[in-house]
Amino acid sequence: MNNQDPTIMSATRHLQILALLLLLGGGAALQLRNMLVPATFGEIGTYRAAALGTNAAHPLTFPSDARCLKCHEDVQEERVESLHTVVRCVHCHGFGAEHITQATAVEVDSSVTIASAQDWDHHFPTKVDLFITYDRATCLACHQATVGMPESFLQINVAEHLEDQGAEDVEDVNVCFECHTGHSPGL
């Protein structure tokens, strides 16, 4: 506006400066925000959408019965009439992650050996991958009468039950299997 006298400010100079500052400041803020806000944030909600994938990618460890029965169909036949279909394979045989890996591999490569079942290590949860056990502890984990159990559940007082049933060797760790089988224990 004022070409002759540089000491005179234009009437809108302050507005121009303000606009420029806002533009630069806004641009800087936007850039800073883009650098600081993580990728995928806000795509679905106020969180990193990639976290859904991270949570979903965790490997599955606990095999459902269906997974075991795919190969062990004979067990399904044994159990079909029994109340014990509700007892999971893993409760008495271990989580079997390696076993399933080997079993899946052998379908492709028949030279892969499937390790045989071990003995139980008497731990809940067990460290043994695959075991077969007749130890009464696996039965009593559910069936020993404990304060808190609903009355409708089939529970026993061990000493009384063994006496009533006339068990031969009351001290034997595998005494339940004198009369019961694991897959269809109902008598």
């Binding site: 993580p38 944030f41 795509e43 679905i44 909600g45 106020t46 969180y47 990193r48 990639a50 976290a51 859904l52 991270t54 949570n55 979903a56 990618a57 965790h58 490997p59 599955l60 460890t61 606990f62 459902s64 509700v86 007892v87 999971r88 893993v90 409760h91 989580f95 008497h122 731990h123 809940f124 949860p125 502890a137 009593l140 984990a141 559910c142 020993q144 009468a145 404990t146 304060v147 808190g148 159990m149 609903p150 559940f153 529970q155």
Partner: protein
């Protein structure tokens, strides 16, 4: 008061100003002496018409800018819950615990620990036992992970007891989760299916969420240094498997399913009997429902 005279050219019209060396009130005299404070006449810098115009324009521009920018963004932000089919009902998962069925076997506990690499000393789920004695006392203890038999605990004399029951507990996956509210880095959030999850990469381990949870289901995992809790086995349910604890339970005391599907097993079981949630008065709206919840349980 100075009256216009022949000597001083005082003009009310700025257009008559021919430039001043200093910013002046443009009275066209180029008089640099201090202005007479009694001077009440003089050109008005602005008048009512200008002021009115300015306000009109400013309001129009502001409202126009708002309607184009801020107001559209303030549409109901449902945190992305409406994902899952566009016009179809969104998937909402829920959980049911039937305390009348639980036998305290502890199978769910070991299943969860193995499935989710839960470190020793911490639990994503646990089972409490409430014992009502005949003398009126109520005692609470925890089911050992191995189950009562393997733990070798001396059992309580049932003669002293009125009633007792087991209460499995896990994350309630609240609709209005306090943990999500307090997280300073948005590491605690709700998935589109209604499952409360933790973004372990963003979590800073401040444990504010651990404090905020009224149910005490959260902890800071010492191995990952991030907050940790039951996720309803999100990695399983997204592949149509059940959570590990639900899979493990031999008596169907834990049920997982869809709350949005009226035909789901979950809803059918909920429809038959009264059911409750924990600490309802806190308004967290848990998606974990209990059958057989007694008043003493908190």
């Amino acid at each position: 008061m100075v009256e216009p005279s022949d000597e001083l050219k005082i003009s009310k019209d700025r257009s008559e100003c021919d430039g001043c060396d200093t910013q002046c009130a443009c009275n066209a005299t180029h008089d640099l002496s201090p202005p007479d404070t009694n001077l009440t006449t003089g050109p008005e810098i602005s008048n009512d018409a200008d002021r009115r115009n300015f306000l009109k324009q400013a309001t129009t521009i502001t409202l126009g800018a708002l309607s184009l920018t801020v107001l559209p963004w303030s549409r109901d932000n449902d945190d992305g819950k409406n994902v899952g089919g566009g016009s179809a009902t969104p998937i909402v998962y829920g959980f049911l615990v039937d305390t009348e069925k639980c036998i305290g076997a502890g199978k769910c506990l070991t299943a969860c620990r193995v499935e989710n690499d839960v470190p020793e000393g911490y639990s994503r789920t646990w089972v409490e036992r409430y014992i009502h004695y005949k003398d009126g006392r109520v005692e609470v203890d925890r089911v050992p992970e191995s189950g009562y038999h393997a733990a070798g605990l001396v059992d309580i004399d049932s003669e002293l007891i009125d009633r007792s029951y087991f209460v499995p507990k896990l994350c309630n996956h609240c609709e209005d989760a306090p943990c999500n509210q307090v997280c300073p880095v948005h590491a605690s959030f709700t998935s589109p299916e209604g499952v409360e999850l933790i973004d372990t990469d963003s979590c800073i381990g401040c444990a504010y969420c651990v404090q905020a949870c009224p149910y005490g289901v959260r902890f800071v995992n010492p191995n990952t240094n991030s907050a940790d809790k039951c996720t309803w086995c999100y990695h399983r349910i997204t592949q149509n498997e059940k959570p590990a604890c639900v899979e493990a339970c031999p008596v169907d005391a834990r049920v997982f399913g869809r709350l949005d599907d009226p035909e789901s097993e979950l809803n059918r079981r909920l429809a038959k009997v009264p059911h409750h949630v924990l600490r309802e008065h806190l308004g967290t709206h848990p998606k974990l429902h209990y059958i057989g919840l007694s008043g003493e349980v908190n």
